[in-house]
Symmetry: C2
Subunit: 425 residues, 2 copies
C-alpha cells in the first residue's frame, strides 16, 4: 500500500479554534467599495448592460456561456474560462461519439428511445467501480444529487465552508440552519482541520460538507487528513464529500488522485458526490453520481429519479465503464493538469494579480491594483471574448476583489495570459 | 372562435355514481388465471427468461428497448411498439440536428457547456407559448414534473383514474392516500364525468389527475367536457391535467387538437403537464414542461431544478420555439395520425383481439382466444423482434388479458399486423 504524501508534510493540527469569524463585513454583502473605473465606449457599455441583466436573471450563478453566446451573439465569445472543465476530455468524448454513434447512424436510438432507468445505469456503474449498485445514486448532474441529499437527509443544521459552491447553502430546506466555517484569506483559504473539528463539536451540525478541492479557491485537503477527518466525524449523521474536482488534485507519484469513494464501506455516514461535468468536460449532458450506504440511496429514490439520465448520459456512462476509454482519458487528464500548472504559474506572475494556491482546474485571483473584479471580467468579455467569473456574489469573499479563472487548452491559456497582461498592466 | 365539437355530442351526465368498484378482484393482483400455454423452444425460453429478469428489475415499468437491445443483443429488436412516440417527428428532429448542429460542427458546445438554467428556458418557452415565463416549469422529462407536483403540492389525498400511468400513484408521498376512479371495461374504459364528480364530492381529494387521452387505454375527454369539469373542480386545490398525448387526439376539422393550457389563467388550481417524449418522439433527451400559476412554479423551484435540462433538450426547446419547425412538425403529426388510424382499424379486424377505442398513439387490446398477454408479448418479441407491453402489472386491468400496442411508421405497422395475424391466428 502506498501511503499518499500530503501537500503539507509537517501539517500540524492547531490547538485553538478561531470560530466562524462572522464579523467579516463582506459576509453581509455591504455596498461595493469604490474602485478605479474603466471607461467603456458606448457599444461596449451597451453589451455590458445586457450581460449584467442576464447575470441578474441567473441569480447566484453565472449565466452559461451558451446562454451568453445565444442571447448576445455580438460578444464573439472565444474562451469560456468561467466554466470549469477539461477541454481535452470533451474532445475525447466527442471523438468516441462521432466514431461509435453518429457515423454508424446510431444517434437516433439515443434520442428517440427511453434511456435505461436509474437502477440499470447504477448496476453498470457498480460493475466498473467495484461497488454495490445499491450504493450508487445516479443523478442528472451533481446539482440534482446535492439537492436530493439536502432535502431528504439533512435535518436541523448544515455546516459548509465559506467560500463555497452556493447550492450547498441555497438548496438547504427553509427549516435547516446553515452555519459556516470561514476559510481565511490571510491563510490563503487553507482548510484547518483542528479548527473545523472544534466548530463541529460546538455547533453539532447533522450535516457537514467538504468540497475537495474546494470551489472557488481550489484548496485541497490531503488524503491522509481526509481519512483522519472522516474518523473524527463518525458521529455526524451526514458527511458529504464533493469530489467534483478530485481528478485535478494529484498527490504522490504519477499524477495519482485519491478518492474516498471506497471509504463509504467503512463510514455509513459518508456520501461522496461525483460530477462528470468537470473532469470529463461534459456539462451539457448532465451526468453525475454519488456513492453512499444503500439505505440512503433507497431514501433518495423514494422521491423519484426513475428516468433521470438522458440517452447521451447513458452512452457516457457506458464509455466511462470501458477500460479502453479510461486509459485514453487518463492520458488527457495528465496532459491537462500539466498545462494547467503552467497556466497557474504564468497567472501568478502577472502584476496586480494575486493567485491563491490551487489543486483544481481553476484559480482564485485577487485584484491588487484598484481595478474592480467586475470591470476586469466585463473588459475580458467585451474586448477579448474571454468569459471569467467575478466572485462578487460569493459569500465569504470581499466583493469587488476576486475573479475565478479556469484553465483551458494551451492556446486558450496563452490567449488568457496575454489578454490579462494587456488589460491589467 | 371555433367551438370544438365533442366526440360525443349527446353526452349526458349520468345521475348516479357507481363509485370505485374496488371489489374488482384484479385490483388486488390475484394469482394469474390459467391460460393456453405457448411452447417455446430452448433458445426462445432462455431469451424469455432473461427478458423476464429485466422486466422484474424495471418494477412497474417496462425495461426500455434500449436496455433490452443492449443487454440481450440476440433479440434482434426490430420494432419498438412498447414505447409511445411519433417516429416521423423523431426523424424531423434528427434532420434538424444533423443540418444545424452536427454538420456545422456545433455539437461540441451542446455537450461541453452548461446548458441554460431552468428560468432561461422557461423564458424562451413563454415567448412562443404566449404565456408568462413565471407560469412555466421546465422538467427533465414529464416524470420529473409529476414527481415534483406530487411531493410538493399534494397533501392528504389524490384521486387518479384506473388504469393509469403508474407514477401518479407510485410517486405519491407515503402520507398521501391514493383513491381510484375505476374506468370500466364494460364501458370501454370511458370516463364518466358525472360519476367522477360524485366521487370527488364524496372523497374530497386535494389533488385530482386527468390524463387526456388516458394511458394505457387511449380514452379521451372531449374539450367541452374538460372545460365543464374544470369549472366543477374549482374547489379542488390541485387539478393535474396530463396532456402528454393530446397531439394525437383530434377534434373538429383539420386534425386540430384542443389543449387546456390557456385555462391556467382562469383556474389557479390547474396544472397542465406536457411531455415532449411522445408527440415529438424524443424520449432520449428528457424534455417536458408544465404550465401552472406562478406561485406553484416558485414552490417547485424551491426544491432545486437549477440545471435540469441538457444541451440537447435546450436545442430541442429552441426548435420547438421556431415557427418553421412547428409548421414541418404539424405535417408529420397529421401524417402519423392518419397512419395510426389505419393501423388501429387493421388491429381491430384481427380475430382474437378486442381493440378499445383510442384517441392516442397506442391501443389497448384484449386477448380473447385463451392466449395470455405475456405469452403474446414474448412471442412477438422473441420470434418477430416486436416489443409490445403486457398490461399484467397495470392496476385496474384483469391480468393476463391486456396488451398495449403503439402505432409506428407505415412499414412497421404493417409488420406488426402481419405478425399478430400469424401469432394469434
Amino acid at each position: 500500500v502506498i501511503v499518499p504524501r500530503t501537500r503539507e508534510p509537517g501539517h500540524k493540527f492547531k490547538p485553538f479554534a478561531l470560530g466562524l469569524g462572522l464579523s467579516a463585513p463582506w459576509l453581509h454583502r455591504p455596498p461595493r467599495p469604490a474602485h478605479r473605473r474603466v471607461n467603456f465606449n458606448a457599444r461596449e457599455q451597451a453589451l455590458v448592460d445586457r450581460i449584467k441583466r442576464l447575470k441578474k436573471e441567473a441569480g447566484s450563478h453565472s449565466p452559461s456561456a451558451w446562454t451568453l453566446a445565444k442571447q448576445i451573439p455580438e460578444l464573439r465569445l472565444k474562451v469560456d474560462a468561467c466554466f470549469l472543465s477539461n477541454p481535452y476530455a470533451t474532445h475525447l468524448f466527442l471523438t468516441h461519439l462521432h466514431r461509435e454513434v453518429i457515423r454508424p447512424r446510431k444517434l437516433r436510438a439515443l434520442l428517440e428511445l427511453y434511456p435505461s432507468q436509474n437502477r440499470v445505469i447504477a448496476a453498470k456503474l457498480g460493475r466498473v467501480l467495484d461497488l454495490e449498485p445499491d450504493s450508487i445514486f445516479v443523478g442528472n448532474g451533481a446539482v440534482e444529487i446535492i439537492q436530493a441529499i439536502l432535502h431528504r437527509l439533512t435535518r436541523q443544521k448544515i455546516l459548509v465552508n465559506l467560500p463555497t459552491f452556493s447550492p450547498y447553502y441555497e438548496f438547504a430546506r427553509p427549516d435547516t440552519q446553515v452555519v459556516f466555517n470561514l476559510l481565511r484569506k490571510e491563510e490563503e483559504f487553507r482548510f484547518d482541520p483542528a479548527r473545523y473539528l472544534e466548530l463541529v463539536r460546538r455547533e453539532r451540525p447533522d450535516t457537514v460538507v467538504l468540497i475537495n478541492p474546494n470551489n472557488p479557491d481550489g484548496g485541497y485537503i490531503p488524503y491522509a487528513v481526509m481519512l483522519d477527518l472522516l474518523e473524527e466525524l463518525r458521529d455526524v449523521p451526514n458527511v458529504i464529500v464533493d469530489e467534483s474536482f478530485i481528478h485535478f488534485a494529484c498527490e504522490g507519484l504519477g499524477y495519482a488522485y485519491w478518492s474516498v469513494v471506497d471509504e463509504v464501506r467503512r463510514f455509513p455516514n459518508l456520501m461522496v458526490v461525483k460530477s462528470m461535468s468537470k473532469d470529463f468536460g461534459v456539462a451539457g449532458i448532465r451526468a453525475g453520481y454519488a456513492v453512499m450506504a444503500p439505505d440512503r440511496v433507497r431514501t433518495l429514490l423514494d422521491n423519484g429519479y426513475l428516468w433521470n439520465s438522458s440517452g447521451l448520459a447513458e452512452y457516457f456512462f457506458d464509455l466511462y465503464s470501458r477500460p479502453d476509454f479510461q486509459e485514453r482519458y487518463e492520458r488527457e487528464r495528465i496532459r491537462f493538469i500539466r498545462n494547467s500548472r503552467r497556466f497557474f504559474d504564468a497567472l501568478a506572475r502577472i502584476d496586480g494579480l494575486r493567485v491563491y494556491p490551487t489543486h483544481a482546474n481553476f484559480a482564485l485571483a485577487e485584484l491588487q491594483n484598484g481595478l474592480s473584479a467586475e470591470d476586469l471580467v466585463w473588459r475580458l468579455l467585451v474586448r477579448r471574448g474571454i468569459y471569467t467569473r467575478t466572485c462578487d456574489d460569493k459569500r465569504g469573499l470581499e466583493p469587488g476583489k476576486f475573479v475565478r479563472i479556469a484553465a483551458r487548452n494551451r492556446p486558450e491559456n496563452s490567449y488568457i495570459i496575454r489578454s490579462l497582461r494587456r488589460l491589467i498592466g
